[in-house]
Every structure is written in C-alpha cells, then in structure tokens.
C-alpha cells in the first residue's frame, strides 16, 4: 500500500508509516513511522506512555489506527497468509488464560497454525518451562508467565519477533538469556523489534534505535547514529525526550 521499496526475499521487513491514533480526544500517536529490517535488532525506546505499546498493538492488528499503515512484508498483519510462522509477539503478561496449563495454552496455538505437537516440547525446553508445563498458568510467577509468552511467540519459528518490554519481570539470568537469544535470532537473518524504557539494558543488544516521545518519533538510526555525541544511549535518550519521566 505504501511501501514502494522492494521487499527482501527472506522476508520480515516491518514498515510503519504515518500512524495516527486518538483515544478519548487525545492524540497518542501523531504520525509514527519507522522500519525494522531482517538481520537486525531494532530497539523501540521511549518513556512510559509515549506510544510504544499502541504502535506495536496496531502493528499486530490488535488496535486500529485512525490513519497510516503498519505492514509486515508489505501487508497488514490481518492479511498475513500464515501469521504464526511469520510473526511471534510477546506483549505484557502471559497472554494465557489462568486456569489452563502452560502446555494446553501452547497446544491450542499450535493447532491454530497446524504446527506439529513436537514443537510444543521444543519451545518449552527452549525457554526452560518443561517442568512447569503441566501447571496452571494462574500459578506461574511473573517471570514464568513471560517465558510462556516467549514460548508462544516462538512456536512457529517466525521470521519476525515483536516484543513489548521483554525484560520486564525477568530475573538477571532471564535478562541475559533473552538478550543472547535475541542476538542469535538477528544473526540468523530474522527481524527483532523490541520496545523498552530501560536504556542501559538495551545498549548491548540493539543494532538500530527508534526513539518515541509523546507519540512522535524523535530519533532513528543505528545505535551509533542515535547516541551521537552523547556519552551513551541513556544520555542521548534523556536529551531527546528532555527527561520527561520514565
């Protein structure tokens, strides 16, 4: 619709252009646009309430924009031929019903995409939930819920991973795991887009940075470009967002 750029054959390009979203008369997104490319980890940074989650929710077809487009491989999310194998998403919480077991949650997602049941054990092992798979999600700790969400996102081994504040609620070991894991995904040619308000945690993980504040993109480029003359990404971030809260 808007992307005139040819799409890479490997796939996994995220193109967001001119997103506007109003809620209750307030403009929470005012023309947000950026791109996330395969083989790179793109960090989507901004203070709380800047519009990160709204942008990701629109990208995933959960919310609608008043105008603008958010495309994966040139199509809106809702028209992807095989969403589970194309995009994996980790939003806040576990994304699972509390009275289901972790395994039962993964089973229905796998069925929706016709994935073999063996994938369930693979992703459970990958995130380290094998032992907790038979327990109800309501009994999970915060970190376990996040791991289940990650396992869900990885079921279809998608070419794009979208994560909203993936480090929230994780212990140091979990943070380390996610960081290395995301780097590996990018190295294998996949696209990783993650949002965060934690600058320090991100600097070592991301290749590209997009900074949003009050519903507007205030900077985008490679990590080096955005950091620019500032001492580090954190300083650059506060300079860009004029320290408007965390």
């Amino acid at each position: 619709m808007c992307s005139s750029r040819p799409v890479a054959s490997l796939g996994g390009v995220i193109t967001i252009d001119g997103l506007v979203k109003r809620r209750g008369g307030k403009e929470i997104l005012a023309g947000v646009g950026f791109e996330a490319r395969p083989g790179r980890v793109t960090g989507f940074l901004g203070p709380n309430g800047a519009g990160k989650s709204s942008t990701l929710r629109i990208l995933l077809g959960l919310d609608r924009a008043h105008s603008g487009t958010a495309l994966v491989d040139g199509v809106p999310y809702g028209r992807l031929a095989d969403p589970v194998r194309t995009v994996g998403a980790v939003l806040d919480g576990s994304g699972a019903h509390r009275s289901r077991t972790g395994r039962a949650h993964l089973r229905w997602v796998a069925r929706s995409a016709g994935l073999p049941p063996s994938r369930i054990d693979e992703v459970l092992a990958l995130v380290g939930l094998t032992d907790a798979a038979g327990r109800r999600v309501g009994r999970y700790s915060l970190g376990m819920g996040r791991r289940l969400a990650l396992a869900t996102a990885l079921l279809g081994d998608p070419s794009v991973l979208i994560l909203d504040e993936p480090l929230n609620g994780l212990d140091p070991e979990g943070i380390r795991f996610v960081r290395t894991f995301l780097r590996e995904r990018a190295r294998s040619g996949r696209t990783v887009l993650l949002s965060s308000h934690l600058m320090g945690e991100l600097a070592e993980t991301v290749d590209d940075v997009v900074v949003i504040d009050h519903g507007r993109i205030v900077a985008r480029g490679t990590l080096a470009e955005v950091t620019g003359t500032h001492r580090n990404l954190e300083d650059a971030f506060f300079a860009l967002t004029s320290g408007s809260g965390r």
């Binding site: 919480g93 576990s94 509390r98 309501g138 819920g145």
Partner: protein, 239 residues
Amino acid sequence: MRAVRAELAKLGTLPSVWLAAALALVVPTGIALLNRGVPGPDRGYQELAFGVMGVIVLGVVAVSSEYLTEGADAGGGRQLTTSLTAVPSRVRFLAAKAGAVVLVAVPLAFAATAATMAIVHVTLAERAAALDAGRLAGVVCYWTYTALLAFAITVLLRHGVVPLTVLLVNTSVVSVTFLLTKFTPLAYYFPDMAGMRMFVGRIGDDGVVIPPLLGLLVMSAWVAGLLVLAAAVFTRRDA
C-alpha cells in the same frame, strides 16, 4: 469506620454497582407496570419479591470485584491483595465490606419500595392494598438480607458466576426453592421462601404457613450462619 468508608468508596466507583442500583429500581417498578390493573392483596409486594435482582448483583460484585482478573491488563493482580495489605485484619475487612453493602442496599430497598408502591397505588387507585408499615419493613429487610446472602456465598466461592446464576435463576416466578417445596416441606425454610413471609401473605398452595416473625427469624439465621461461615473460611485461607 475508616474501613467502611473505604469499602463504600470502592463500591461507589464500580460501574457494576451503579448498574445494580439501576436494576434495583427498574426491575420491580417494571414488573409492577406490566402487572398494572390486576388487583390483589400482595400487589406490589410480589413485584418486590421478584425484583431483588439488583441487590443480588450488588452483593455478588462487591466481592467478586476483589477477585477479578479479567479486563484489559489485570494480568493476575487481584485487588484483594491491595485490600488486605491496607486492612490486614480479615474479619474487619469483611465486616467493613458487609457494612458497606448494607449501607447501599437499605436506601436502594427504600427507594425501590417507594417507587413500586407508588406505581401500584397510581394504577390501582383505591383497589390497591393499604400500606402496612410492618410489611414494608419486611421488604427492606428481605432485600438487605438477600444482598448479604449473595455477598456471603460469593466470599465462599471466590467467584461471582455461580452465586449470580443460582440466585438469579431462583428469583424466577417459579423459583427452584419453590419447586423443592413439592418435594419436601422443609424447603419452605429456605432463606428466600421464609424471608418472603415477612411481606407476602400467600406463596403457592401453602403447604406450610410461616408467620412473618418466624420468617424473619429463619432468614436471619441463614444470613448470620452464612456470614459466620464465610468469615471463618475467609480468615483461614490464602488470599
């Protein structure tokens, strides 16, 4: 008292409580309007007996809202955790909540009774039964007790769907408890069947006659028993 005020504030800010209030007024008056022109000794009182839906909803949501995990981003956080860290004494917390429910239910019952009786007297004029202070007090008492019953059962079950279903189905014209009376006369001593005696003269074919005062006692016993049980269970289990 501060705890009661906090509980009142919680109730006042729950949309479902306002819905409950609206139901409490609309249901009995609506039934009274539909039944207009049919005189009888229990006109008005019967409508109020069937119209308790509002206070049932009130009693249920007062508790179930504490346990709610539905909604956009609740994410497993229950309000109850906050409540119990603010008011750590479980008995005080429960008493404050029950007190708040009573403080909302009583005026609602008064308003609903006044509105329903007004409609009955306007539509039936001189054919309407004369007002009787004792019976009217019975209505207010029945409504308040019903709210507390819903409250206590929801505390026991920690979930609103079952008590709401059972109690609402039971406000149907031919209630389940009434059906049970055909099976055993003991069913006349269910809280609703006994409580209605405070203001409704005849129930069905009346196998057993319970005077209003006994009705009051029976229902009081049920409510007190369930509240004590709810408190006992609530203080013993993990939040």
